[in-house]
Each structure stands twice: as C-alpha cells, then as structure tokens.
Amino acid sequence: MKKNKKAVSIMIGYVLLITIAIIMSVVIYQWMRSYVPKDILTCPEEVSIYIKNLECSGTQLNLTLRNNGQFNIAGYFIHATKKPDQELATLDLSQSVVETNQIQGNAIIFDYLSLNSLKPNQEKTNYFNLNDTIYSLEITPVRYQGEENKMRLVNCGNSKVKESIICG
C-alpha cells in the first residue's frame, strides 16, 4: 500500500523556493540601492579665514583676507547687507570685484589655474566697486575637494565670517 502513494516532487518545491527567494532579493536590492547612505561632500572644520583689513574709500572697498585655518582655500563667497537692520547678507558682491578674472559663478577664486591656492597664513587682497551702500559683510570660504575622480567646489558655510561696515 505504501509503495503506491503518489506525491508532488520535493525537488520541484526546493527549486521553486530558491528561485523565488533569488528573484525577491534582486528586486529588493534594486529598490533599496538608492537608499544606501553615501558620504556627502563637506568642508573640514579646520577651514578658517578672517578679515585682516577692511578699508572703505567712497564707493571702493578694499578687503584683505588671511587664511588662519589648517587647509588651503580656493576662494570665497562675499555678500553684503543693504539695510542697517538686515540680519542676513544677500547682496552678492562677487560681480563688483575689480579683478574680474577671479570670478567663477558667484564665487571669487584666488587663482583659477591652481586649485586651493591660498595656503595657511597667506593673505589675499581684493578691491570692489560698490553700487549700493552696504552695512555689513559676510564672507564664506570655498575650496575644491575630490569626489568620484572629480574636483568639486565645496561651500564652507560653517566657516563664515561677518563684519560690520558702512561703505558706498
């Protein structure tokens, strides 16, 4: 009696099970791949600049920056406030720089032929022709950093410096 018993093959069951498991794992991998966290491009905390000298002469502004951090810097963003009670500087002064060959986008790059040219303890002076009266300056350093075999400009927002001045 036992010899006549029929049943579905166990092998087919195993094959189906394994096949389904592989298909499901591939599908879920494709879906979850974009959620894998990747390191974002951030500026080192030791990047630092300070305004060594700030002179106003009519509508001309002379700005001397000094790198007092531990990393080289490529340039900076410069913004100003147009009102005395304005908290955040939004007037872009990069287009007002006299050395127009240093403008890259809305950043002022010290030397576009050499990445991160301003080394620690070095200084750089720029001159600006102002079209508006300004009440304060905000300067944010930027530097080039490598990501996936490309050099990208990184905004060092945490190293921003501010200075009050009435000029223009």
Binding site: K6, A7, V8, S9, I12, L16, T19, I20, I23, M24, V27, I28, Q30, W31, R33, S34, Y35, P37, K38, I40, L41, T42, F77, H79, K83, D85, Q86, E87, L88, A89, T90, L91, D92, G105, N106, A107, E138, T140, V142, E148, R152, L153, V154, N155, G157, N158, K160
Partner: protein, 156 residues
C-alpha cells in the same frame, strides 16, 4: 465507496498549476517593485533624493516684509515652498510664484535671495520654508519637496 472510486486532480496537473501560479505571482510582484524603483528620484550619482534633503543647509530671516535666504550648503535648492500658518489654518505657496526675485534655476552653492512677501504673509504667525530639490528619475527630471522637518521656521 472504495478508495479506487475516489476522484482527484492528477499530481502532474497539480504540480503544473502550482508552478504556473507561483511564476505568475512572481512576475506580478517583480513588475510592481520595478515600477516602484523606476519612480525613485535620485541626485548626486544615485543617492535617493529623500536622503539628499538631510544635506540641505540654508539660513533665512524675515524683517519688515522682506524675506532673506542664503544657501550655506552644497545642495542646490531648486525651489522653496512657504507654509504660512496663522489663526488655526495654514496654506502652502511656492516662493517662485509670489516673488519675481526667486531665480529660475534656484539657489546654487552660496546663492542668496531677498524679496518682499509682506502681502502674502500679512496676519500670519509663522512661516516654514521647505526646500524643493530637483533630481533625476527614469522619466526625466523631477522636483521633490522635502519634508517639513527639513524646513526653516520663522516666527513673524
């Protein structure tokens, strides 16, 4: 009734049916997941745009009817939604629709915005600035509004 008279489905047919049903279900599930992954919006070499919202960094202030925004991070902010709350209700508007000063390409690294929004926020108690990013999906470029927790709250 003897056991020999009992009728049932042949084991071969049962096996074939079983395999066919499993294959059909597997295909349906595969197509469903495929559709879901196709809709995912990515930015910066395949990173899901929902994760990119965590990297957005901007500063904002409001004074005398003027809104000021400065992009402090390295993620370009394509657009900005403003959630205006007051007197038990709120509405969400697109900053680009209420101000001509918002750049069409958004705020790049170091980009800034200043514009008068006093007419839109009169009577409001607070506003929340929620960044809108642009990414890539299989259907082309798509915008994505970050969650409110990534927003910047300003009390008026």
């Amino acid at each position: 009734m003897s056991l020999k008279d009992k009728r049932g489905i042949s084991p071969v047919i049962a096996t074939v049916l079983l395999i066919a049903i499993v294959v059909v279900i597997a295909v349906i599930i595969f197509l469903w997941f495929n559709e879901m992954s196709r809709e995912a919006i990515t930015k910066f070499s395949g990173k899901n745009i929902e994760l990119v919202c965590d990297d957005v960094d901007f500063d904002a202030s409001y004074s005398n009817g003027e809104l000021y925004i400065s992009n402090l991070g390295n993620v370009p902010i394509f657009g900005m939604k403003i959630k205006i709350s007051g007197e038990g209700s709120y509405e969400t508007v697109n900053l680009g629709d209420i101000s001509n000063e918002w750049p069409s390409a958004g705020l790049d690294q170091g980009g800034t915005f200043s514009g008068d929004i006093s007419s839109e926020v009169s009577g409001a108690e607070e506003i929340v600035l929620i960044p809108v990013l642009i990414g890539t999906s299989n259907k082309g470029e798509k915008t994505y509004m970050c969650e409110e927790r990534h927003g910047y709250e300003l009390l008026l």
